[in-house]
Symmetry: C2
């Protein structure tokens, strides 16, 4: 195994071509103004082939933009609180913006998603579904109680909001470095709110400073 035969290579190639073409068209004319037929034609395949690679039109954009939170919690090092693990994770990913894919492509994806209500709703719907996994991870094996579910919901909501703010800056045209820099501070703010509650006034939050 692991011998990349011609067949596998062609498959990967086709998949990439479809997704690239789709992203370009979406970016040019807007998600809703592009039909799957057009994508197929522009990519030189049949409609049914597009759907054989991507189960839905949405997946052409959203594939691989999901987060793993539950895995972060279950895989956290010994003696580390769940929230601590999550804070550390997002603190770490904020700085270098570690991404295994082309940054330009990622930004385009974000732009496309942010500017389509349908896509936004889909992404949020999907993330909501994952809350249950996070709740299970937080409960650590036991059946998650209401507290676990509430924590999972709040954490998910906070992360989503962070991403939203980050994406918003990128979509507006802010350079990647600046957006990442702000994100770092935002992560600390968000987790402070999560850990210490909303009744902490803004002054208190600020006077604490966002000690890295």
């Amino acid at each position: 195994m692991m011998m990349a035969g011609l067949r596998e290579r062609k498959k990967d190639q086709t998949r990439r071509r479809i997704s690239q073409v789709a992203l370009r068209l979406f970016d040019e004319r807007g998600y809703d103004q592009v039909t799957v037929n057009e994508i197929a034609e522009a990519a030189g395949v049949a409609k049914v082939t597009v759907f054989s690679y991507f189960p839905t039109k949405e997946c052409l954009v959203t594939d691989g933009v999901q987060d793993d939170m539950a895995a972060i919690v279950t895989g956290r090092p010994e003696g580390c609180s769940p929230i601590g693990a999550l804070r550390a994770h997002y603190r770490a990913t904020a700085a270098p913006v570690t991404t295994d894919m082309d940054v330009e492509t990622l930004i385009t994806r974000i732009r496309v998603i942010s500017s389509s209500p349908a896509l936004l709703a889909a992404v949020y719907g999907a993330q909501m579904s994952r809350r249950h996994e996070l709740a299970a991870a937080l409960a650590g094996g036991r059946e998650p109680d209401l507290t676990a579910h509430l924590m999972a919901a709040q954490i998910t909501a906070a992360i989503t909001t962070l991403q939203e703010a980050f994406f918003q800056r990128l979509a507006v045209g802010a350079p990647l470095e600046e957006a990442a820099g702000r994100l770092a501070g935002d992560v600390e703010l968000a987790f402070d709110l999560l850990e210490h509650g909303l009744t902490h006034t803004e002054e208190e939050q600020h006077e604490k400073g966002h000690q890295l």
Copy 2:
């Protein structure tokens, strides 16, 4: 105005008939297994008429199951914190389960929604949009900053989770009174978590007691 002519009465009647028939069919066979054509036929109208009353198939179930949060915050009495107002509101609605509609119908709706991933995702997506309104209300006129958005996100997530838990108990068959009673306690727990943070351990939360 307010003079209910025959025309208006017929309209209301038709609308109600469509929604009732749809709900019954959904409950019997599942949301995805019922087509709009079937609903129309069973209700004795044309498909286009169904869509003239309800913009989407989802709305046949989700219409009127939304919450108002932003209004609660903006309309809160003098000297009352936003979170305090929300806590008071949900504390109040938990006990009598004040609903202007048939309880049995409401429960059926909930059952249908809970058992359809598509509907759940739709509801979550819709609630997402309302977060921005709540954030604006929290900011009180000024442009909402990240803190406001984070608070709105957390609050919305918590409320959603409460409803989910409540609905879950009803769907499982718990009597309305028992579910409402538990909901009252859950509301206090949720707002304690919101106000004081997730790092409060469960023992602390419980030792505080849920003082009404």
